[in-house]
């Protein structure tokens, strides 16, 4: 046991070799610790107990789905923007064909070549009118639904029923 005493001394001096420290750990884990060394047993037991402490859980933030959604959204916005710009250019940008003179007027509307500016304006007005009609008719069911909702007002129906019951009761009396 002199050897253990020597290793203990080296241990407290911070000079014990790794294998000597391992030997000490094993010695104090066993139940064959000599009475004079018993006092150090809780110290090595405390080190062993600390090894069992585990960390809380860290939940890795979701990266893949968000990134995909983000990319898809960006892609969609980019594609829609490009399409809108092309449409505007095609619809309203007058450009020359076959090296015609600067005074010539030519626009393509819905794939049709229109050379007359007044005709083009008229065509555009007509399209805006149609769009306005489409928007108006699209909202019509919504307006009707609102009217039905107003008509189906529960408090009004109950009030009317209450009036009718009062009237019947007054007649019976």
């Amino acid at each position: 046991m002199d050897n253990i005493d020597n290793i203990l001394n080296n241990y407290f001096e911070g000079k014990a070799l790794p294998e000597e420290e391992n030997r000490l750990r094993e010695y104090f884990r066993n139940n064959t610790v000599l009475p004079q060394h018993e006092v150090y047993k809780p110290m090595f037991a405390a080190f062993d107990k600390e090894k069992q402490i585990v960390s809380p859980t860290f939940i890795i933030p979701v990266e893949m789905n968000n990134q995909r959604m983000f990319s898809f959204r960006r892609l969609w916005i980019s594609a829609a923007s490009i399409a809108a710009i092309i449409l505007l250019v095609v619809m309203f940008f007058p450009f020359n064909k076959n090296n015609s003179s600067a005074g010539d007027y030519l626009v393509f509307i819905n794939g049709r070549a229109v050379k007359n500016p007044e005709k083009a304006q008229e065509y555009a007005d007509q399209m805006f009118t149609q769009a306005d009609e489409i928007i108006r008719t699209s909202y019509k069911p919504l307006v009707e639904a609102n009217a039905i909702q107003t008509k189906m007002d529960a408090s009004k129906i109950f009030d009317d029923l209450a009036h009718t019951i009062d009237h019947i009761e007054s007649l019976n009396q």
Binding site: G14, E50, I53, E63
Partner: protein, 173 residues
């Protein structure tokens, strides 16, 4: 570094990092906060982690620095002077502290931050002197000196505690 790589190469050090936080902060709740904070920061900078060679040393250093910052921000950080003596346990305390392992942990917590971190890195995490020196950015000799001081101080506290215990039980016999 994706989620799987983060799990395999970073979260595998979670227990050691959490124990480091507990050693520095000496508070379970604060240590949990520190652990979550560090993991979130690491996750946000996961691309930069790929180039780090010694991840364990880097992670332990990061955790220690984060905890030391937290301690500095606290009005009273609970640190005692490096020369503070182990407070003598009263009779009531002695009888209550049946769990000697917890008593040892309490004694280690009374050591200055550097000493308790070094003793835990050596005796709990079983790290080499060289690794500890690299992690704490001090020389190997400084690690050995602090380790020796920590172990001797701990031995002194254990022996004082035992003497008080023997006196108390001797009085009751």
């Amino acid at each position: 570094m994706n989620a799987q790589q983060f799990q395999d190469h970073i979260l595998c050090y979670s227990d050691k990092l959490y124990r480091m936080a507990l050693s520095v902060l000496k508070d379970k709740s604060l240590s949990q906060d520190a652990y979550q904070e560090l993991m979130m920061r690491l996750w946000e900078k996961r691309k930069q982690l790929e180039v780090i060679e010694n991840r364990q040393a880097f992670l332990l250093t990061s955790m220690r620095n984060l905890c030391l910052d937290m301690l500095r921000k606290q009005p009273t950080n609970g640190e005692l002077s490096p020369h503070a003596a182990y407070p003598d346990p009263g009779p009531h305390q002695l009888t209550e502290e049946a769990d000697t392992v917890n008593t040892i942990n309490r004694m280690i917590d009374l050591l200055p931050e550097m000493q308790r971190t070094i003793i835990r890195m050596k005796d709990v995490e079983e790290m080499e002197i060289t690794e500890i020196a690299g992690m704490m950015s001090i020389t190997e000799n400084a690690v050995a000196v602090n380790l020796s001081r920590a172990r001797k101080k701990l031995r002194e506290m254990i022996l004082t505690h035992q003497q008080k215990e023997n006196m108390l039980y001797g009085q009751h016999r």
